[in-house]
């Protein structure tokens, strides 16, 4: 494939596939709604049953999947570029673990977990950044401090699970794996606003991402304010992941795998932001189509199908290398 077309063709194909998965998500489910009826229901007419199914059940679910997937993908690309580490993902840096421990504590103590996920995730991110700050910070140190904070959160979650009743533990595990089944319109506004602000923001700061990826010295030499750029970009990534996790749970693996998949599809040296976001959205929406059929949370499906795909990419790359 000519080198010039590929960076354009890949996002275009991904966008098409994502749109297809989104539309299928409105039509597919416990029973099939014809595309014509879907369009009619979206326009506000048609029979009441289709209106209820499409507008109240499937549309919020598909929107949360689309936005959360895109947010995870973009945030993953940002984290991996800023820390210059393909293994850096919000899962490792404490946000997901912080959100998880807050929500599980809420479930076990009988507090309504709405809002707790967001607070826990943001708090964990704040703690990591403050602890990693010592006359400036480096991507490496953020990861290491994140590992430590994740230990505390994860082991506290495990301990809470042993103290819970079995039904509470089931509810907690259902949330921990990432679930779109309970999505309602209530989940959409906060997520939509954060994505609408932060995704274009990150795209606009693409110049900083490109220089940071070359290393601190070169980036400084090219005129990038390294500390400030890193802080702003990480904040944007944290915001995206915190809102996405609060709405959909820490869907396994999207933030980690989407940038790696997008990078290999696009044949780029660093994870492309737009393609990563589209990949994340596509993977979540496609996985949710399947998750509905097997009556399992979407996070189970993303792991089961996303992971082998990443493995296949790894093997293929090794052969060429």
């Amino acid at each position: 494939m000519p080198a010039r077309i590929r960076p354009l063709l890949v996002p275009a194909c991904l966008a098409g596939a994502t749109a297809a998965a989104f539309c299928l998500g409105l039509a597919m489910g416990a029973h099939w709604v014809d595309p014509v009826d879907v369009v009619r229901a979206l326009a506000g007419s048609g029979d009441r049953f289709a209106l209820l199914t499409v507008n109240e059940l499937r549309l919020p679910r598909a929107l949360v999947g689309l936005l959360a997937g895109a947010a995870f993908g973009v945030a993953g690309a940002v984290f991996q570029t800023v820390t210059r580490n393909p293994l850096a993902s919000p899962d490792m840096i404490g946000i997901s673990a912080g959100a998880a421990v807050a929500v599980v504590a809420g479930i076990v103590l009988g507090i309504d977990p709405a809002g707790l996920g967001l607070a826990g995730g943001l708090l964990a991110a704040l703690v990591v950044y403050l602890l990693a700050w010592n006359q400036g910070t480096t991507g490496y140190r953020i990861i290491l401090v994140g590992v430590g904070v994740t230990w505390v959160c994860t082991s506290t979650t495990s301990w809470l699970l042993t103290k819970a009743e079995l039904y509470q533990a089931q509810q907690a595990v259902g949330w921990l794996v990432g679930n779109l089944g309970d999505s309602t319109w209530q989940d959409v506004p906060a997520l939509a606003v954060s994505a609408a602000v932060l995704v274009p923001g990150v795209l606009l700061l693409g110049g900083w991402l490109r220089t940071l990826q070359l290393g601190d010295e070169i980036a400084t030499g090219l005129g990038t304010p390294v500390q400030r750029a890193r802080l702003v970009l990480l904040l944007a990534g944290v915001g995206l992941v915190a809102f996405a996790t609060a709405a959909a749970g820490p869907i396994a693996f999207i933030a980690l795998a989407s940038p790696q998949i997008a990078r290999r599809l696009a044949g780029a040296a660093a994870p492309p932001v737009l393609a990563s976001g589209l990949t994340g959205a596509l993977v979540v929406l496609a996985a949710d189509l399947l998750a509905r059929q097997v009556q399992l949370p979407v996070g189970v499906v993303t792991g089961v199908f996303g992971a082998p795909f990443l493995m296949w990419l790894l093997i293929r790359k090794n052969r060429y290398a």
Binding site: V152, A169, A257, A307, A321
Partner: protein, 328 residues
Amino acid sequence: MIRTRLLATLGVLAVLCLLSLMIGARAVPPGDVLGALFGDRGPDIEGIVWGARLPRTVLGLLVGAALGLAGAVMQALTRNPLADPGLLGISAGAAFGIVAAAAVVGVSTFYGYIGFAFAGAVLASVVVYLLGGAGRGAASPVTLALAGVALTALLTSLTSGIALIDPEALNRYRFWDAGSLAGSDFGVVWRLAPVLLAGAVVALAVAPALNSLALGTDVAAALGRRVGLVRAGAAVSITLLTAAAVAAVGPIVFVGLVVPHLARVVTGPDHRWLLPISALLAPVLLLAADILGRVVARPGEVGVGVVVAVVGAPVFIGLVRRRRLAEL
């Protein structure tokens, strides 16, 4: 100098072993504990000492030593100061083994669960090495770690899926996942010991070669080391040590990652000293955490996995902030 420090570590370890025998949910006078070890103090006290505290202490020693050794070998093998057993899919493999044993096979004995967890951990680790090293050339640390993360994600999804469908599997999984030395008996110890011994022997056998490997593959080969063989030996020892330890007591963070760094402060970089010191320092940490867990929440207790993480993380973060990262 090193010998003095070695002796000091041994002394601390011995004191901790004694404390681990003395302290527990039920107050037993120290005299009676020692008496029960060497003589007859009645079935009640003997049950506590021989049935619970002694196997628990021995298991803590074995598992701690295994995690410390495996951590040191893994950091040398991957030449990555951050290599950690959780990274290679071993913990996720063990977790999957446990839920599969409960939901699919219908295992009902404690030893059965440990066996399945061990098998899952070994299989996961083998798959990660195969994936990471597939194609031409040796496995690069990053590819290996990515393969580990990918397999961990796959297994974690499957584990959650099964746990959501089968309540018994979830029940088994959640108590294993918190990490605890409690409830172990000598049956577990005897089953683990040969595996751990084999892993330790292999680890110590490759220790001199790891010194050459630290200079780079080319130098090691020029010095007459058979690099492929050394790497394979290191991988085998890591897998045996970690899989057995994790299967028996659940995932324990911090120990395998940080102990080798502490040991390096004591001995310097020579692996012939680094490995034995790691194997002594790690049980010091593990036993101390276990004893703390028995004291803080009387009359209940907090599992060693949780204590290690909650106490270890601040220490780890302090190290990260202070020391130059290249050294860590």
